[in-house]
């Protein structure tokens, strides 16, 4: 009797996504301790881009909106903490991150209202133009630049308000890991909610959703605004991490990063976007060891290959592999 009572419990434990999450979580917590400091820095960069990529995946993979301006929010978050440090001498994490969230959300409130008036190619072009507008503002306004250079330098790592606290690469990594975990959890909740399912419905057939009585514009607008603060957080963490911010953080290249990550990993899957981020960041790292000046060439080839051959996404293949493993040890496929 007792075995029968226990089995479903065990089954739900294994069949939930708990096991892979535990494995990956443990990996992310334990492995960096044994890595040299510069590779810890790369791990941090990977997590930051993972946040950026899952943020983009909410509007790209789930809602089906192809935006070429997600750098607007990434840059906004970065410039918030950079300006705080340059003009106000504020480096507090508890002021920087909330402000980055608010500012990037406000940017999305305005930009979403403008760009969602149109769809398809026009949406793509408009989001690109709006991000470029921020780029040229950052480029042209002296207040947004350090003396005698383009961009803001000497951004310090955030202060946590703990007296006598000193940063190491590893400590910053764990802070970013914590933030990334929270962001992932929140976005997971959003995408698994009825709201998230409605977004997928809009991606698959907007006309049908309209016929069912959904206000699709409102859903798209909310998805656009919800996604932005996550990109803002990523941008702020990135500015702390690289100690420097330049207008190119608003640039087209920056907007393409989360897109290629989402596609390589599998658009419409948060886990896939994280896998994509890992792939791109580590490929860049290994390229920089061998032939740094050819990285753009390799990145371009990654774009082409991911479009022509990997469109279902590597992350999605990994998830399917896990489902197969579960199936082979006797759990039903879902």
């Amino acid at each position: 009797m007792s075995t029968i009572a226990e089995r479903p419990k065990l089954r739900t434990l294994v069949s939930s996504r708990l096991v892979p999450i535990l494995i990956i979580g443990l990996f992310l917590i334990v492995i960096p301790v044994f890595l040299p400091a510069d590779v810890q820095g790369i791990m941090t960069k990977f997590l930051i881009y993972a946040i950026f990529a899952i943020s983009y995946d909410l509007i790209f993979g789930y809602t089906g909106l192809v935006s070429l301006g997600h750098a607007a929010f990434f840059g906004a978050g970065g410039y918030v903490v950079a300006v705080l440090s340059l003009h106000f001498g504020i480096s507090s994490f508890w002021i920087g991150i909330p402000l980055a969230i608010i500012v990037s959300a406000l940017v999305a409130v305005v930009f979403g209202f403008i760009s969602l008036r149109v769809s398809g190619t026009y949406f793509l072009l408009l989001t690109f133009a709006l991000a470029q507008l921020l780029y040229s503002i950052a480029w042209n306004i002296p207040w947004l630049n350090s003396e005698g250079m383009q961009g803001i330098a000497n951004i310090s790592l955030p202060s946590l308000g703990i007296p006598g606290y000193t940063w190491t690469n590893a400590k910053y990594y764990f802070l970013v890991l914590l933030v990334a975990g929270i962001c992932y959890y929140l976005l997971e909740r959003i995408t698994r909610s009825p709201f998230g399912h409605a977004l997928v419905g809009i991606r698959e057939g907007e006309a049908r959703m309209t016929a069912l009585g959904y206000n699709t514009w409102g859903f798209k607008y909310r998805a656009y605004v919800f996604a932005a603060p996550f990109a803002g957080i990523a941008g702020a963490l990135f500015a702390y991490h690289s100690r420097f911010i330049s207008p190119s953080q608003f640039g087209l290249g920056t907007s393409f990063y989360p897109m290629v990550m989402a596609i390589i990993g599998g658009a419409g899957s948060l886990f896939g976007a994280v896998v994509g981020a890992a792939l791109v960041v580590f490929l860049e790292y290994f390229t920089s060891l061998v032939t740094p000046e050819r990285w753009p060439l390799i990145l371009g080839i990654i774009f082409v290959i991911s479009i022509m051959y990997l469109r279902s996404g590597l992350g999605v293949s990994l998830i399917r592999f896990w489902q197969k493993v579960r199936h082979s040890i006797g759990y039903p496929q879902n």
Partner: protein, 285 residues
């Protein structure tokens, strides 16, 4: 008065270059539904080929135009035949793929020609200026304007007066019907894409007379092309011409009147057009 006239001339010739750059992208976007972000990179290839031919090899300007146009055209045709033809109607795939080619082409250009800036270089044939009363017009700018007009006329004729133009326009509206009539739309698409890429290369050789040439052009030009397309409207030659000239004039006068804020005059023009007529001044709705 002198200032206004010279700015007018500068704005017109600059606008013609913008028209040349944007028209190819607009044709491909409007008639074939392909968003080709690598169009600026094709311009850059044309500009560098032009530089090699009449600065390094000291050969003829018109030969440079021919080789630059064909070089960019062949490159464009390759991208279309090998990759883009599998991605019809898939906007996000096209965007990512063609931006990948911006990276690839830019890096290869740096590999071949190096990363340094090259200032505008006037071909020997186009040196000097024509005096009209008190004013002197540089021959380069006049030639550029004439080339722009000739290309515009040619493209307009092709679009509105020939069978090919009719097929392409009809194919955009109803692909299956056109194929049902026994027309090989693939060949027509390839030809249109080749032509558009040729114009990008030609624009590169011509544009290098006025603008400096550098490896960042491939992505830097995108915003200007976008501005021309938004202001003029997608998919018609007339729209690209009007958009190009307007943006050229606005930018030139903006730089003369409000230096420091010149970047924003283009955005201002885009916003005004988007608010008044979202499809562009001469766009097909």
């Amino acid at each position: 008065m002198n200032l206004i006239l010279s700015n007018l001339m500068n704005g017109l010739s600059y606008g013609m270059i913008l028209f040349l750059i944007a028209s190819g992208m607009s044709i491909v976007l409007g008639m074939m539904g392909i968003t080709n972000l690598a169009h600026g990179a094709l311009y850059m290839v044309g500009a560098y080929i032009g530089w090699t031919i009449f600065v390094q090899l000291e050969m003829n300007f018109w030969l440079a135009i021919l080789v630059g146009a064909i070089g960019a055209g062949v490159l464009g045709l390759l991208i279309e035949r090998v990759f883009l033809k599998h991605l019809y109607k898939q906007i996000n795939e096209q965007v990512l793929l063609t931006y990948g080619f911006v990276y690839i082409i830019t890096n290869i250009v740096i590999w071949i020609w190096g990363g340094r800036y090259r200032l505008q270089f006037t071909a020997p044939e186009l040196m000097g200026s024509i005096k009209l009363g008190d004013f002197s017009f540089p021959i380069t700018r006049i030639v550029i304007t004439v080339i722009g007009l000739v290309v515009a006329l040619f493209l307009w004729y092709l679009q509105d007066k020939t069978r090919i133009g009719a097929i392409v326009r009809a194919g955009m509206d109803d692909k299956e019907m056109i194929q049902g009539l026994g027309i090989d739309l693939e060949k027509v698409s390839a030809a249109v894409f080749f032509l558009a890429s040729c114009i990008a290369g030609l624009a590169g050789v011509v544009g290098a007379q006025l603008l400096s040439t550098f490896p960042g052009l491939g992505s830097d030009l995108l915003l200007l092309m976008l501005a021309v397309i938004i202001v003029g409207g997608i998919g018609t030659i007339q729209g690209s011409l009007v958009g190009g000239l307007l943006i050229g004039l606005i930018d030139t006068f903006g730089k003369a009147l409000f230096p420091g804020y010149a970047m924003f005059t283009i955005y201002f023009a885009m916003v005004v057009v988007l608010l008044v007529k979202p499809t562009g001044l001469l766009g097909r709705s």
